[in-house]
């Protein structure tokens, strides 16, 4: 099954109430699969092809505001359009899931894979002081597994959560075990779990969900509350995977599809006796800064491999704080590095110099 198809099937299975999206390569199979599966006839999940990305994200805002598990998906230029809705959701503390199957940019760019939305995803993306939780799947299996996780985190912290995939993981097919069916929550369950939701105020004070206040003192307190929440997330929700780091002298930090390529490069280098391992951030925000810092204490040098001009490398350098040299390698505009190319970089730029 394709990564995009896995997202669609996992959404139906994890009790998603609604999908609102607009087609764009390389993620159109998500909407296509949902249309073929017709979940409105089985679980009651709503699937709407909206008139635009702006409409999609604002439908997610509306669905999330009433406590429903709702989502949208798009690719880079489409997600750029959605940023207004995402910052509004963040301000109003409305949960929702956004899937970004990245393609090359800037602008309309290409339809080929890229990881160049790292900054946009991990720095908030829209206006104001905020972050969204960002999960980076590296396999079709993780595409399926992260769907329920994304909803769980979005509701635990009342904020938009992003699955940041790319054209490689979205388009490739591999083996996947789909999660078991979980029923959609009933209205009573939503009332119990989401006392903040704007789903009818009979017998209680009305809930107001807005990102607007003209009182700066109130707005500062609201921002402090958001920052407190972000701190809690940084303390509790960091996820990552280590690969052959125990005896490693060199480290690759890489996420998503780039981590798959890095893994192959490591296999090749290990055969030649080079002690190299990898740390793969699974949450890009919150970033596994402490883990990278700890590993950097015993590394000769670190290579940050990402399919962009060098974005995550900033976070790696901030984590390492000069304890060892950090270099970056990447391709841009829809070109994807090959494992052999990465092996060359490891040999010619990493291990000979440091």
């Amino acid at each position: 099954m394709k990564g995009n198809e896995a997202i669609a099937h996992a959404a139906i299975r994890c009790g998603c109430d609604g999908f609102f999206g607009y087609p764009i390569t390389p993620q159109s199979e998500i909407l296509e699969t949902l249309a073929l599966e017709k979940p409105w006839e089985t679980t009651g999940m709503v699937v709407v092809q909206a008139e635009s990305e702006l409409a999609s994200i604002n439908m997610v805002y509306g669905g999330g505001a009433v406590g429903k598990r709702v989502m949208t998906s798009s690719s880079s230029p489409g997600v750029a359009l959605m940023q207004e809705g995402i910052t509004y959701m963040s301000g109003a503390e409305i949960p929702g899931v956004i899937v970004n199957v990245q393609r090359g940019g800037p602008g309309l760019g290409t339809i080929q894979p890229s990881q160049s939305d790292y900054y946009q995803s991990t720095r908030g993306g829209g206006n104001g002081d905020y972050n969204v939780i960002v999960l980076a799947p590296a396999s079709v299996q993780e595409m399926a597994d992260f769907m329920d996780l994304a909803f769980t985190l979005a509701f635990r912290y009342r904020m938009p959560t992003m699955i940041l995939s790319d054209g490689v993981i979205g388009q490739m097919m591999e083996k996947v075990v789909l999660p078991p069916y979980k029923p959609r929550r009933t209205e009573e369950e939503i009332r119990r779990e989401c006392p903040w939701a704007a789903n009818g105020c009979k017998g209680r004070k009305n809930n107001v969900l807005t990102s607007l206040s003209l009182d700066p003192a109130w707005m500062e307190r609201h921002n402090q509350h958001l920052q407190e929440k972000f701190r809690t997330i940084r303390e509790n929700e960091v996820r990552y995977e280590e690969y052959l780091t125990e005896d490693a002298e060199y480290l690759i930090v890489s996420f998503g599809s780039a981590a798959r390529i890095a893994q192959k490069a490591i296999e090749i280098c290990r055969q030649e006796g080079l002690r190299i391992g990898m740390l793969r951030p699974i949450t890009l925000w919150p970033f596994p800064a402490h883990q990278i810092q700890a590993l950097s204490e015993r590394m000769k040098a670190i290579l940050c491999l990402e399919i962009n001009a060098g974005q995550m490398v900033d976070d790696v350098r901030l984590s390492v704080m000069g304890r060892c040299p950090v270099i970056h390698y990447g391709r841009m505009g829809g070109m994807v590095p090959t494992p052999e190319e990465v092996v060359e970089v490891i040999k010619n730029k990493l291990t000979v110099k440091f």
Binding site: E174, K175, R260, I261, Q263
Partner: protein
């Protein structure tokens, strides 16, 4: 066991579906598989290729730059992928649309006139299954039985009556493939 293949041609030839059927068949045998397509926005006529990896172990990179086996179905793909086959590897090509045949001496090169055979079968859509049959003759990665299982899995049920025709094409492909160098 590990087999890394590239199947390359132009859109509409059935390149991606051939790879998909192969991957599904290997999945039926309990192998690890990955299928990674590369194509342009066109539905027909653009270049299309797919990397298929079949392995007993878990697969790291779905993207490769060298291959054990290449199936080449047009001239631009031959020029692009002939140099990427590992020494001792296999190259299969259909003569139709190839004006400059492959030249490497360190490969097992096979020719299959699948386009002609498809025309003889009065079914040009059988083309990719003829080629797949040829591949399985020279690289028995999966059994024909599992390919047919794979077909049952990938084809919508309304097309299941076409499976016998596909089987015929697979077996015909096995007959007509020929080694052109020793």
């Amino acid at each position: 066991m590990k087999e890394e293949l590239i199947i390359a041609g132009f859109g509409g030839q059935g390149v991606l579906s051939m790879g998909k059927i192969l991957a599904y068949s290997a999945l039926m045998e309990g192998r690890e598989v990955s299928w990674m397509p590369a194509y342009g926005p066109e539905q027909r006529g653009g270049t299309a290729n797919v990397t298929v990896i079949i392995s007993d172990q878990s697969i790291s990179s779905p993207i490769l730059s060298t291959f054990d086996t290449a199936i080449i179905l047009n001239q631009p793909s031959l020029e692009r992928f002939e140099p990427t086959i590992r020494p001792g590897g296999t190259l299969i090509y259909d003569e139709y649309g190839i004006c400059k045949p492959p030249t490497r001496k360190d490969l097992n090169i096979y020719r299959i006139n699948a386009m002609d055979a498809a025309a003889e079968m009065e079914n040009v859509k059988a083309f990719n299954m003829l080629v797949l049959g040829g591949l399985l003759k020279v690289r028995p990665i999966v059994t024909i039985e599992n390919v047919l299982q794979g077909l049952r899995k990938t084809l919508p049920e309304r097309h299941h009556h076409l499976i016998p025709m596909n089987e015929k094409a697979l077996r015909k492909g096995m007959e007509i493939i020929e080694l052109i160098n020793d």
